[in-house]
C-alpha cells in the first residue's frame, strides 16, 4: 500500500508554497508526528509533520521548489507492505502536471519530471505549456501582479467589450503577456469579472465587487522602473515572497479601501509615571516584566474598541461584521519586511500578559515561526514608529481590518495650558479609518476615548 503525501494548506488562505527543506529522504522510516519537511509561504515557514507511519517511497517535489499548489502530491508514503503500486507513479505525475500547469512560467521549478526516460519527459514538459487555467485567487508569482500590465491590444479590447477585469487574467503569451486566448478562457471559465482584492478576501467574506472593478479599471499602469536607470548602475534584488505579498496586499488595500486619517495628541506624562512605578515593582527573577508605552497603548486601544463597537468591525458587501473581542494586530519590524501578529482578546488581558505575548510573537515572527492563525484576522492594528523618533505618520489599513493606529514618539513639547506655556510629554497618534465602516465622527469619538485611557490609564478601570 502506498499513499500520497500532499502539499498541506497551512492556513485557510494558503494556495501555494515553497518546499523549503526536506527532513526525510527516500527510504526513511517515519512515524506520525515526525517532521517531514519545512514549507514556506509568503508569511512564514512551517514544519510539516507526518500523519501516518511508513517509509518514504519517493520524493516527488525536490527541495527548493517554489509555487507548489496545495494538494499537489509531494511524496509517496509506503505503508505496511512496501512497494508502491506501479500505476501510482504515472497517476501522480499526471496530478502534478495538472496542478503545476497554471504556475507562472517565470517560476523555476527544478522539475523532477524532465528525466532521462522519454515518457517522463513528455509529462514533465507538458506542464508549462498547458492552457492557462483561470486564476481564482492569488497565484503569487504571476507576472500581472507586477505594476505594469502586459496584454495584447486585442486582449484589452475583448476584455473591455466583455467586461472582464484584465488584471485578473493569467497571461500565457511571451513573458506572461495576456493574449486573446487568455481573455477568452477567462470569460469561459467565469473568472470573477471585477478584480477582487486578493488576499483579504476569504470565501466567507465577499468584498465590494463594484468598487473593486471601478478602481482597477481606472488605474493606469505604473512604468517599469528599469526603463529609467542604466543597467549596471543598480543591483536588482529579486523580490522574495514576503516582499511580493506586501506589495500586493498594500497596493490593493490602499487602492480599494477609502482611507481617511484622524490625528490626536495624548499627554502621556501620567502614563510614563505609572509605567515607571509598575516596572519598579517587577520581580527580579521569575515573572519579571518590563512594560512599554506600547503595551499601554494596546490595552487602551482594546478597551476603547469595546466601548466603540462601530470601530471594531469589518466591511463586507452585504453586512458590516462587528467583532465581539478586541483582536489587535501589532506591526513587527523584521528588517527587511514586516508582519502583523495579533493579540487576541486584548480587552481581557492584563498589561503583563500583553507585554509578554508581544515579546513572544515578535521573536517567533523574526524566526518565521508564526502560525497563520497568529497573524490572520483582527479588526484593528497598531504600528509604532516612536522608537525611531517619528513624530507622527499615517499607516495603511491591513484588510480585513478597518482601522490602524500609527503611534509616534512620546516627546517633551511646549504646550499651552490655562494660558501658560508648560512642558508636557506628548505622543501624537493618527488613526487610518476605512470610511465604508467608520464615519468621521465615529472615528473621532473613538480617539477621544483612547486619549482619555492613555492620558489617565486608571480610567480603564472605571
Amino acid at each position: 500500500m502506498s499513499t500520497q503525501i500532499l502539499m498541506p494548506a497551512l492556513s485557510p488562505t494558503m494556495e501555494e508554497g515553497k518546499l523549503a527543506k526536506w527532513h526525510v529522504k527516500e527510504g526513511d522510516v517515519v512515524k506520525a508526528g515526525d517532521i517531514l519537511a519545512e514549507i514556506e509561504t509568503d508569511k512564514a515557514t512551517m514544519e510539516f509533520e507526518a500523519i501516518d507511519e511508513g517509509r518514504i517511497g519517493k520524493i516527488l517535489i525536490p527541495e527548493g521548489a517554489e509555487g507548489i499548489k496545495v494538494n499537489v502530491p509531494i511524496a509517496v508514503l509506503e505503508t505496511e507492505d512496501g512497494e508502491p503500486a506501479p500505476q501510482d507513479i504515472p497517476a501522480t505525475m499526471q496530478a502534478i502536471r495538472e496542478a503545476l500547469a497554471p504556475a507562472s512560467p517565470a517560476q523555476k521549478i527544478p522539475s523532477p519530471l524532465v528525466g532521462d526516460a522519454a515518457p517522463k519527459a513528455r509529462v514533465g514538459i507538458e506542464a508549462p505549456a498547458a492552457p492557462a487555467a483561470p486564476r481564482s485567487g492569488n497565484g503569487a508569482a504571476a507576472p500581472h501582479t507586477e505594476q505594469r500590465l502586459f496584454a495584447s491590444p486585442l486582449a484589452k479590447r475583448i476584455a473591455e467589450r466583455d467586461g472582464i477585469d484584465i488584471a485578473s487574467v493569467h497571461g500565457s503569451g511571451p513573458r506572461g503577456r495576456i493574449v486573446k486566448a487568455d481573455v477568452e478562457a477567462a470569460a469561459k471559465g467565469g473568472v470573477p469579472k471585477p478584480a477582487p482584492p486578493r488576499e483579504e478576501q476569504t470565501p466567507a467574506k465577499p468584498v465590494a465587487a463594484p468598487e473593486a472593478h471601478a478602481v482597477s479599471a481606472g488605474l493606469a499602469p505604473l512604468p517599469d522602473a528599469r526603463l529609467f536607470y542604466k543597467e549596471g548602475e543598480y543591483e536588482a534584488v529579486p523580490n522574495d515572497s514576503m516582499r511580493k505579498a506586501i506589495a500586493r496586499r498594500l497596493t490593493s488595500a490602499k487602492s480599494l479601501i477609502p482611507h481617511y486619517y484622524l490625528t490626536i495628541d495624548c499627554d502621556i506624562g501620567a502614563l510614563m509615571q505609572l509605567r515607571a512605578r509598575l516596572n519598579e515593582k517587577s520581580p527580579k527573577a521569575e515573572g519579571a516584566y518590563k512594560l512599554s508605552i506600547n503595551d499601554f497603548v494596546i490595552k487602551a486601544a482594546a478597551m476603547a474598541l469595546m466601548k466603540h463597537p462601530d470601530v471594531n468591525a469589518s466591511w463586507t458587501e452585504a453586512a458590516i461584521l462587528k467583532h465581539k473581542h478586541a483582536d489587535i494586530g501589532i506591526a513587527v519590524d523584521l528588517n527587511p519586511g514586516l508582519i502583523t501578529p495579533i493579540v487576541f482578546k486584548a480587552e481581557a488581558k492584563g498589561l503583563i500578559e500583553i507585554s509578554n505575548e508581544i515579546k513572544s510573537l515578535a521573536e517567533r515572527a523574526k524566526a518565521k515561526k508564526l502560525k497563520p492563525q497568529e497573524y490572520e484576522g483582527g479588526a484593528f492594528s497598531i504600528s509604532n514608529l516612536g522608537m525611531f523618533g517619528i513624530k507622527e505618520f499615517t499607516a495603511i489599513i491591513n484588510p480585513p481590518q478597518s482601522a490602524i493606529l500609527a503611534v509616534g514618539a512620546g516627546e517633551e513639547r511646549a504646550v499651552i495650558r490655562d494660558g501658560k506655556v508648560i512642558a508636557a510629554t506628548i505622543m501624537s497618534v493618527t488613526m487610518s479609518c476605512d470610511h465604508r465602516v467608520i464615519d468621521g465622527a465615529t472615528g473621532a469619538r473613538y480617539l477621544q476615548t483612547l486619549k482619555i485611557y492613555v492620558e489617565e490609564p486608571a480610567s480603564m478601570l472605571l
Binding site: P105, G124, P153, R157
Partner: protein, 465 residues
C-alpha cells in the same frame, strides 16, 4: 552498443533540419537521418529551385517590356538548359549551407534510410548495411510527395510531377496543368510566361481555392489575360499517351466531355505523406489519409515519438514545418512558454505572376457563424511605388472583426506581395487591432503603403483613392 542520442530526426527537410538546429542550440545531442539530400523537397525540389525558375521567367517577362522602360533589344532568346542549371546551382548552394548549419550546431548527419525499431531505437540502412541507433526522442519528418490517381500516374517523360517539371530537357509547346493550387499555378505561370500554351484544370469552382474568393477571381482574370486557359469545375477523366504528346479527356461539372492534346502534363493534385517503410505501424503510430496523426504538440501518442511538417496535417508549407520543428525541439528540451502552432497565423505564398499571399481567414470564412466583420481593399493602381515599378495589377485586402478590431485575415495579389505579407502576420501574432495598424507609419513610397490603406479602407477612410 548502439550510438545513442537525445534526439534523432528522421528526414532532413525544413521541418527536420530546423528541428535539428534548435535541438543543437538547446544543447541536446542530436542526429539527423537523410536518405537523399539535406534540405528535403523544399531546397532540392520545391520552394527554392522553383523560385529560381520563376525569377528567370520574370526577367523574360520584363525583357518583353523593355520599350516601356526606355530600352530596346532584339533577338531575345532563352536557353532552357541554362535556366535549369541555375536553378540546380541555387539548390545545391543551399544544401551545402544546411550541411554547414548541421556542423555548426554539432548535429550528426546520418546517411541512409531510417526505420523505427521499438521504443527509442532506429536502424539506418545504407548500401545493404544496417546500423542501429538509440534516442530518447525521435522526430519523424519524412515529408510528402506528389499525389497520383489511378490512371493519372506520372511517368517522368510525358506526364510530370513537380520533380520532372523542374528539370525539363526540352521546352513543351503546350502543357496541361492538373490542379490549381500553389504548385500547379506556379508551374503554369513559369511555362506560360516563357511561351507555352498552358491549360489549367481545377476540380473546384475556382483557381487557388484556398485563397479568398476575390483573390481567386482576380487571379483567374489575370491568368486569362496572359493567355492561360483556365477550366474550373473540371476533372481529367483519362490521359492517353502518344509518342511525344498526351491526349487528355476532360469532363466538366455539367457533364461536357472534351479532349485536349498537349506536349506534357503536370500533375499537381496535392500530396501524400511519406508514411511507408519507416515502421509506423509496428511502432503503433496512427496514420490517417497518408498523414501521421499528432496532437497540438506534434506528439504521435507513442511516448518519445514526434512528427512534423508535410508528414502531418496541413497547411503543407515549409515554414509551418520549420515552426513545428522548433516547437518539438523546445518541448523536448523543456523550454517554458512554448505555444502550439496556430494555423491561422501561418502565411501562405504563391509565386505565380501576379504573386498571391495571405494569412488568416478569408472574408467568407470570417463571416461564418454570424461574426460581424469589416473588410478593406486597396488597389495597386492607387499606389505610387507600384506605378513607378510598372506593376499596377493587384490589390490588398484586409478583414477585421468589426467589434474587436482583430485582424482576422489579409489577402494580397500583385507584385512582391509575398514579401509584404509578413507585416500582417506580425500584426496578427502580436494581436494588433485595426487601431494600432491605423496609427502605424508606413514608409513612402513603398508597396507596403497599400497595407496601411487597406486597413484604413476597412473603416471607409483610405487616403489615396
Amino acid at each position: 552498443m548502439a550510438e545513442s542520442f537525445d534526439v534523432i530526426i528522421i528526414g532532413g527537410g525544413p521541418g527536420g533540419y530546423v528541428c535539428a538546429i534548435r535541438c543543437g542550440q538547446l544543447g541536446l545531442k542530436t542526429a539527423i537521418v537523410e536518405r537523399e539530400n539535406l534540405g528535403g523537397i523544399c531546397l532540392n525540389w520545391g520552394c527554392i529551385p522553383t523560385k529560381a525558375l520563376l525569377r528567370s521567367s520574370e526577367i523574360w517577362h520584363l525583357l518583353h517590356r523593355l520599350n516601356e522602360f526606355g530600352f530596346s533589344a532584339s533577338d531575345i532568346t532563352f536557353d532552357l538548359a541554362k535556366i535549369v542549371e541555375r536553378s540546380r546551382k541555387v539548390a545545391a548552394q543551399l544544401v551545402n549551407g544546411v550541411k554547414g548549419l548541421m556542423k555548426k550546431n554539432k548535429v550528426t548527419v546520418i546517411d541512409g534510410e531510417a526505420t523505427l525499431k521499438g521504443r527509442g531505437t532506429i536502424t539506418v540502412a545504407k548500401n545493404g548495411q544496417s546500423t542501429e541507433y538509440s534516442a530518447k526522442n525521435i522526430v519523424l519528418a519524412t515529408g510528402a510527395r506528389a499525389r497520383e490517381f489511378p490512371g493519372l500516374e506520372a511517368d517522368g517523360t510525358l506526364v510530370w510531377t513537380y520533380r520532372h517539371a523542374m528539370v525539363p530537357k526540352e521546352f513543351p509547346k503546350s502543357l496541361l496543368v492538373v490542379g490549381s493550387g500553389a504548385i500547379g499555378i506556379e508551374f503554369a505561370s513559369f511555362y506560360r510566361t516563357l511561351g507555352a500554351e498552358v491549360t489549367v484544370v481545377e476540380v473546384l469552382d475556382r483557381v487557388l481555392p484556398v485563397e479568398d474568393e476575390e483573390i481567386s477571381a482576380f487571379a483567374a482574370k489575370a491568368f486569362a489575360k496572359q493567355g492561360m486557359v483556365i477550366k474550373t469545375a473540371t476533372t481529367v477523366e483519362k490521359l492517353q499517351r502518344g509518342a511525344n504528346n498526351v491526349t487528355a479527356t476532360l469532363k466538366s461539372k455539367d457533364g461536357k466531355i472534351e479532349t485536349l492534346t498537349v506536349d506534357r502534363v503536370i500533375l499537381a493534385v496535392g500530396i501524400v505523406g511519406n508514411v511507408e517503410n519507416i515502421g509506423l505501424e509496428q511502432a503503433g503510430i496512427k496514420v490517417e489519409k497518408t498523414h501521421v496523426v499528432v496532437n497540438q504538440w506534434c506528439e504521435t501518442g507513442v511516448p518519445g515519438i514526434y512528427a512534423v511538417g508535410d508528414l502531418v496535417g496541413p497547411p503543407w508549407l515549409a515554414h509551418k514545418a520549420m515552426h513545428e520543428g522548433v516547437i518539438v525541439a523546445e518541448r523536448i528540451a523543456g523550454v517554458k512558454g512554448v505555444h502550439p502552432l496556430d494555423t491561422s497565423k501561418v502565411p501562405g505564398c504563391t509565386y505565380c505572376w501576379p504573386q498571391v499571399a495571405s494569412v488568416g481567414l478569408t472574408e467568407s470564412k470570417a463571416k461564418e457563424g454570424g461574426r460581424r466583420i469589416k473588410a478593406g481593399k486597396f488597389p495597386f493602381i492607387g499606389n505610387g511605388k507600384a506605378i513607378a515599378l510598372g506593376e499596377v495589377e493587384g490589390f490588398v485586402k484586409t478583414v477585421f472583426d468589426a467589434e474587436t478590431g482583430e485582424l482576422l485575415g489579409a489577402h494580397m495579389i500583385g507584385a512582391e506581395v509575398t514579401e509584404l505579407i509578413q507585416g500582417y502576420t506580425i500584426a496578427r501574432t502580436l494581436e494588433a487591432t485595426d487601431s494600432e495598424l491605423q496609427v502605424s507609419i508606413f514608409p513612402h513610397p513603398t508597396l507596403s503603403e497599400m497595407m496601411h490603406e487597406a486597413v484604413l479602407a476597412a473603416d471607409g477612410r483610405p487616403l489615396h483613392i
